[in-house]
Amino acid sequence: MNNPHTIIQKEEYKSSQNVRWCPGCGDHAILNSVQKAMAELNLKREEVVVVSGIGCSSRFTYYMNTFGFHTIHGRGSAIASGVKIANPNLKVWQITGDGDALAIGGNHFIHTIRRNIDLNIILFNNQIYGLTKGQFSPTSKRGFISKTSPFGTIEHPFRPGELAIGARGNFFARTIDRKLNLCTEVFKEAAMHSGTSIVEVLQNCVIYNDKTHEELTDKEEKHDRTIILKHGEPMIFGKNSDKGLVLDGMQLKVVKIGENGITKDHLLVHDAECQDSFLHLKLTNMEYPEFPVALGVIRKVKAPVYDQEVIHQIERVQSSSNIKTFRDLAVEGDVWEVE
């Protein structure tokens, strides 16, 4: 039994269901990191609700020994919104895929973010429809060849971070399935943030889109190709920690420390809590090879939280209303009596 003092072990969040993802699928690692994050946060299992839509990623729900609701394709955030608004004490996590969140569920995704309902949304971005066996998704790169795009796609992909910030998102982080510790850290930060948190996890689908994120995970090169942003710290990256980011006019620029008189002091310092989203957008949109891909918490801003506002409004109205019961309402106003 849980009490505030006992430490819950990671294993306790594992359900008895056999995990049925393909061996080598990035989802295994994400599941592990989520369980680790929950253990480190010491979340009570009965207060955690995992809501998912449909997709390989959405099977996640069955593997968690918490409350879980595996629902229908794309509607996870609408269902999770209802759960959280009805009972704001619950810790509501939504697990979703690039198809689930950004294709069929795109409308719910942006509106949930706009409202800032306190949900932790973990978006498994494998740039493919896994469950339906390999069709391109709204995040597949232009020209991507798949079963439904045998000649390559002719459409622009969404960039989830850009979409989230465009929908006035207050929390956006990016991580990658191979970086277990970063995943755990980012999930914890997302969980502690109140309001909608979007965590995009670059996830590998070994079967239908293997190595799609490989250039960011290559053992030798990954440090030059990604930057881990930390609030309050200068934007440094590279194998030898000798590269950094500066602002050149309105554009970001990669610079080398030591060259052209550049020192650490010239580099941008990450301010995830800045209300203005200008730099956050620039950072989320950085793409390799021109830029390193930004990982970590890119934006984390305080704003009114919908589910809390609902309660405040009810309390405010109730404190000044004479209507306390249904009968009070029914006998108020234009009523006449027959004696």
Partner: protein, 616 residues
């Protein structure tokens, strides 16, 4: 010299206030209905708004009307109007074909000038002759000029005075029916308490209208309408949409649950959303979603989390909700969906009434997906059925679709405020299982519902969802024979709801050979038609259905007592098909109408008479 006015005795009378949409006819109608209901009349009202938001002034498409039917045994807003107030030529033109023969028409002659006559489509200067209204009792009242006259010393602009001339009509109608104007006076004093000049103008115009009746008694009949002896208690007027919203409020109170509405605006269901959005005082959580899918999805989420989750919509919105309804069936969570039907398909006739979503409610989902379908049959029993829909959803852990329609939603009647004990408690199926040993699909042996266990309950953590589950363990299962067991279980669970609903009752001549059958909102018209026919000596019986899936348990027994069954509905025969499906052995005759309008009592009587004749 004054002559005495003609006094007309009647059981029931229909008055229609009609004018331009800016003339305040809806308010006038509501105020009169409140006055006359409080005086001891049954009432049934129906508004008739223009379909366009700002239709051109003075034209037929800009006419706004409000009909009040009152007296004793009133069940419908009436087919025909006995007394018409026409504030302009367009109001006259659009209503003449619905006048009872010999009825009274009060017209504001000041507005019957050339310009307005042309706008209304009259070709001559004399609408009375042009529309052949000589047989009617015409009262030409200078409403506009008398309103101006009695307020000329007030410092008010012309526009404000013209806006108050509806009070003249109200005053005059109150005089004709011997109704006191105190209630209206009180209303005006309250409404304009911050605008003393406007208050004064309204009060004077009201009085002037009332006195006008006295002055010209000769030309104006006065009526004596039978009152009823209603049960003791508190009464008020209630429209169908408001009644639905209020029924949910009572259900939340009686179940001790928080009420959560997920909704997206759509005519004619929006007032339910608006009414509940205003009920923060009773702790209602209202979520105006981005579409109907999110609306139902959020309601399912709220139910899952332990609230009474409901959603409301109209036909096109119900189409969007189909997939999520299937989820509610599969996950076995309580949910109520109110579908306020309108003319379809597609956007159809958004402001008109129809009963054509029955099949959609019954079958509009993938898979074998049984859920409860019920229908309210009067504006005020929308309250009862919203309450009972919630009770069934919660106690049986099953989604319920409650059908109303535009006619019920906008109509209103007097409603008796329920007393303690009028409605039962709602017993939530809380789990008696032990923490740590919980099985989500263990069933109550009587109702077959599963337990309702919500997040937050320690030791009851479990997973549910849209995939088929093992009948024993609740784990995901793709096993064929298990699926068959589950399909039958869900069907049987639905069927057992029949053990908890009232039996079907028969009115009229129960021993007759012909049974008229209807469902939902047609009750008032069918009831009145049958009552009139039986009073005329005809042998005919009548039963109205409120529960459609499952049907009341005695349905087969009742149907088999009759040689012929006439099924009447505002569609092409959807309920008739449902009955044929269940009871194919009977002979069914259909009476269908799809004009966006309710039945008329006249057409029903004619059809029934003809059939009774043929069956002899």
């Amino acid at each position: 010299m004054q002559r005495r006015s003609k006094i007309i005795d009647a059981n029931r009378i229909a008055v229609r206030f009609s004018g331009d949409s800016g003339d305040g006819m809806q308010l006038t109608g509501s105020l009169f209905s409140l006055t006359t209901a409080a005086f001891g009349n049954d009432i049934s009202t129906f508004p008739d708004f223009p379909a366009d938001i700002r239709a051109p002034q003075g034209t037929i498409s800009g006419v706004s009307g409000f009909q009040v039917h009152f007296g004793k045994g009133v069940c419908t807003p009436a087919d025909l109007t006995d007394v018409l107030v026409a504030m302009n030529p367009a109001a006259l033109k659009s209503n003449v074909s619905f006048m009872s023969p010999g009825g009274t028409i009060i017209m504001d002659v000041d507005n019957f000038d050339k310009k307005n006559l042309v706008k209304a489509g009259y070709e001559t200067d004399d609408p009375i002759i042009e529309d052949k209204l000589q047989g009617f009792n015409i009262v030409k009242a200078p409403i506009t000029s008398l309103s101006q006259e009695c307020t000329k010393d007030l410092k008010l602009d012309r526009k404000s005075i013209l806006r108050s001339k509806n009070m003249f009509a109200l005053g005059l109608i109150n005089w004709m029916f011997n109704r006191p104007i105190d209630y209206t006076r009180k209303y005006i004093r309250h409404k304009f308490s911050h605008k003393p000049e406007v208050m004064e103008a309204n009060l004077r115009i009201l009085e002037t209208g009332f006195n006008y009746g006295n002055i010209i008694q000769a030309g104006t009949p006065s009526f004596h309408i039978t009152t009823t002896e209603p049960q003791k208690g508190l009464y008020r007027n209630l429209s169908g949409n408001k009644a639905v919203a209020w029924g949910f409020l009572l259900a939340a109170e009686k179940s001790g649950l928080q009420l959560f509405l997920g909704s997206y605006p759509i005519t004619p269901a929006t007032e339910i959303l608006q009414e509940l959005a205003g009920r923060k005082d009773l702790g209602v959580k209202v979520f105006q979603a981005e579409d109907e899918i999110a609306a139902i999805a959020s309601a399912i989420g709220a139910s899952y989390a332990g609230a009474l989750g409901i959603t409301n919509t109209s036909g096109p919105g119900l189409s969007l909700k189909s997939e999520a309804l299937g989820l509610a069936v599969m996950a076995e969570v309580p949910l109520v969906v109110v579908n306020v039907q309108r003319g379809g398909p597609s956007t159809g006739l958004p402001t008109k009434t129809e009963q054509s979503d029955l099949m959609q409610a019954l079958y509009g989902r993938n898979g074998e997906s049984p859920l409860v379908v019920m229908a309210a049959s009067t504006p005020v029993n929308c309250f009862d059925y919203a309450f009972y829909a919630s009770k069934i959803a919660l106690e049986h852990m099953i989604p319920v679709i409650l059908l109303t329609d535009s006619f019920l939603a906008n109509g209103s009647q007097q409603w008796k405020v329920p007393e303690e004990g009028d409605f039962p408690n709602i017993e939530i199926p809380v789990s008696r299982q032990k923490p740590g040993e919980f099985s989500p699909y263990l069933r109550n042996s009587e109702k077959l519902n599963r337990d309702w266990v919500c997040p937050g309950m320690e030791g009851f953590e479990h997973r549910i969802g849209s995939l088929e589950k093992d009948a024993e363990t609740g784990a995901v299962s793709h096993d064929g024979p298990n699926h068959e067991i589950m399909v039958h279980l869900r069907e049987e669970k639905l069927k057992r709801v029949a053990n908890f609903i009232p039996p079907l009752t028969v009115e009229g001549k129960t021993e007759a050979e012909v049974l008229v059958v209807g469902w939902g909102s047609t009750y008032g018209h069918l009831h009145t038609a049958i009552e009139e026919l039986t009073n005329e000596g005809h042998q005919i019986a009548f039963a109205q259905f409120n529960y459609i899936n499952p049907l009341p348990k005695n349905t087969g027994e009742i149907l088999s007592k009759y040689k012929t069954i006439i099924v009447c509905e505002l569609n092409l025969g959807q309920f008739a098909a449902w009955l044929r499906n269940h009871f194919p052995q009977h002979r069914y005759i259909q009476y269908n109408k799809v004009q966006g309008l309710p039945f008329t009592i006249k057409e029903l009587k004619e059809f029934f008479r003809k059939n009774l004749e043929e069956l002899k």
